[in-house]
Symmetry: C2
Subunit: 108 residues, 2 copies
DNA sequence: CAGAATCCCCGTCGATACTG
DNA sequence: CAGTATCGACGGGGATTCTG
């Protein structure tokens, strides 16, 4: 995947988490290497085909590392790359603002 | 607009910037009160109707304040609320990660 | 000037079936 | 086990026209 029309760095960050399940996937891969099946069990609502697609996009963006073992039955492990781990910090800031936001609107 | 199915604060933050022009709008309102027309001129690619919609969503989320003056011709000013201003910090972190990301992929 | 209303395309996303 | 392939619904969002 080519990076399309880089307007500003903010747009890139926005694009990367664009997709219904990207954030959840990155959350799951925090501190753990997971196999395809494990991801599927952890996200029962997401279809296999779409999970595959989202993982592929994250891999192409360089956020997720895909380690395939040439075995039968096949075994594939997903983990965060270095820059993927850096992204956790961004998600942490987003999460904290979300908490602040919830408290803020509950006060009214 | 009701907050739909709050799963985690992260999802809320994600939802709020979901929409093609939300980020740009918030960027523009940083440090300035703007009229509808000014926003339109600053974002020539976005259609009026859609700009209206995006602004309304941001207002319902409490990110943007809409000040309408009962004049003829009408005059409406948009600005960031307190929590909208707090959100700028999140966008700043996203922006910095984006810069880091660009440098990171250029090195390859 | 600042919208509201309408129409419609297309990308996202879901469901099912098949494969190495 | 870990995918592909295919089809189709839905809604985001673009363009145009109308209104107070």
């Amino acid at each position: 995947m080519e990076i399309k029309n880089i307007k500003c760095p903010l747009e890139i960050t926005h694009n990367i988490i664009n997709g219904k399940w990207k954030i959840s996937i990155i959350c799951l891969l925090k501190n753990s290497v997971m196999r395809f099946n494990e991801l599927q069990k952890a996200l029962p609502e997401i279809q296999k085909s779409y999970l595959t697609q989202q993982l592929k996009e994250l891999e192409e963006y360089g956020i997720v590392h895909r380690q395939a073992y040439l075995e039968v039955p096949p075994k594939v492990e997903y983990s965060l790359t270095e820059i993927g781990n850096e992204f956790l910090k961004v998600m942490d800031v987003m999460n904290r603002w979300g908490e602040y936001y919830i408290k803020h609107i509950e006060r009214k």
